[in-house]
């Protein structure tokens, strides 16, 4: 039995973030499916793993964690020598560039892209009406963020450096949702962003995450 357990749902973007990281590192783990439709993530058992009642939750031996970015940070450090190098080793100054682009994802990209994913991808999936005003507002916001990305990616092959790191990985789940919606135009209309999106979504580890949705 693997020491690592991930409790989550293959349809949850936060869960996918963790799964992508584990597949990149090539570490064994056990996936425990949480039935979100039945409200299992709000059950007492699950709240003991994550008091915020959200997927994913994570265990590695006696370590219990939640928050997908805290989990991926731990996995990338603990298994630094396995699989894909997802960090920037070196001086504090070199590592700071990775931290910066991780924060950009969390503070700038995440909110408008999550709202758009909810309105344009998940709501139709659940049969709820899309809020057109929210879509317009968040497409404008995301457009401005992607303008910054376009400039950055014209100078740097990936966000933090010349190779794929956690900073790029964090974007995969929301990007994948947006590619299945009308909002994909925001990504496709910016050449460097578009090229980056195509590269990162083509990674074998990401395909393994998507394959879990088909099971």
């Amino acid at each position: 039995m693997a020491a690592i357990k991930v409790h989550g749902s293959p349809l949850s973007t936060a869960t996918q973030r963790v799964l992508a990281c584990l597949y990149e590192k090539g570490v064994d783990f056990q996936f425990v499916s949480i039935n979100m439709a039945a409200g299992e993530h709000k059950s007492d058992n699950f709240l003991a793993l994550n008091p915020f009642g959200q997927v994913p939750a994570f265990e590695d031996g006696d370590l219990k964690l939640f928050e997908s970015r805290a989990i991926t940070h731990y996995v990338a450090h603990e298994y630094a020598d396995k699989g894909t190098q997802l960090l920037i080793p070196g001086s504090n100054k070199e590592a700071a560039v990775l931290t910066l682009w991780q924060e950009v994802e969390a503070q700038q990209f995440n909110s408008p892209s999550s709202t758009l994913a909810w309105e344009l991808f998940y709501k139709p999936f659940f049969g709820t009406a899309t809020d057109a005003a929210k879509v317009e507002e968040n497409e404008t916001k995301l457009g401005k963020v992607l303008d910054v990305y376009e400039t950055r990616l014209s100078q740097s092959r990936y966000l933090a450096s010349d190779y794929f790191t956690l900073a790029d990985l964090y974007h995969l789940p929301n990007i994948q949702c947006l590619l299945a919606t009308s909002a994909k135009k925001l990504l496709e209309s910016r050449p460097h962003v578009n090229a980056w999106v195509k590269e990162i979504t083509a990674r074998p580890a990401w395909s393994k995450v998507l394959a879990m949705q088909k099971q």
């Binding site: 970015r69 731990y74 700071a96 931290t99 700038q108």
Partner: protein, 212 residues
């Protein structure tokens, strides 16, 4: 080291608090929020046009939590220990409670805007946003209450970046009607009293008095 920002900006205060805790020398470059943060010069420092921006030698950073992380690591041996050194498992607990950006920050930022900045600028508060955000923040604070019943500070038994990152929004909210959310939860209330009383935080607040 240079910090470009404004003493009334919560994100700038996050960085200032960290610098004062680490007791490192820095130069503060005031940015006039009437529009200077959108100027060409400033956009070179932060393409998102937001304060703060940070420079040390040839390193240029933005995003307050990236700046505080860098300072805390680079000056690990100076001033207050703001990290949780040890194994990856030990450090993971700090990372977890540093994810305040996703739970505490959204509703508290909205409340700071509605209850502090809007009145200050003579704009009308949106009561519906206040009600909704207070309900959201209350749920987060229930989780904090349970956590702080078991742990003296959020990540461990000493003050770390996880606690520090909360200071700016908490300070503004304690000056508003939303303070009831903190006062009504005993462990949260005690934690708020302790962290806002830190000398380094008082130095941040002093900078605001200079600007008035």
């Amino acid at each position: 080291m240079e910090v470009h920002g404004n003493p009334f900006s919560t994100s700038t205060q996050r960085v200032l608090a960290c610098l004062y805790e680490k007791d490192v020398e820095f130069q503060f470059v005031n940015v006039d929020m009437a529009g200077e943060h959108k100027s060409e010069n400033f956009l070179l420092l932060n393409p998102f046009g937001q304060v703060p921006a940070f420079e040390e030698g040839d390193l240029k950073l933005f995003e307050s939590r990236a700046i505080t992380q860098y300072i805390s690591q680079e000056y690990n041996d100076k001033g207050t220990q703001l990290l949780l050194p040890g194994s990856n498992k030990t450090m993971a607990v700090l990372q977890l409670w540093k994810e305040e950006a996703h739970h505490f920050n959204p509703p508290s930022t909205k409340l700071v805007f509605e209850l502090h900045y809007k009145p200050f600028f003579g704009m009308a508060t949106d009561a519906a946003v206040v009600e909704e955000s207070e309900a959201e923040l209350a749920k987060v604070l229930d989780v904090y209450e349970a956590r702080l019943a078991e742990s003296k500070y959020l990540a461990c038994d000493h003050f770390t970046l996880a606690d520090l990152h909360h200071l700016p929004n908490i300070q503004y909210l304690m000056g508003s009607s939303a303070k009831k959310l903190f006062d009504s939860r005993p462990h949260v209330s005690a934690w708020v009293a302790v962290i806002t009383a830190r000398p380094a935080w008082s130095r941040v607040l002093d900078m605001q008095k200079q600007k008035l």
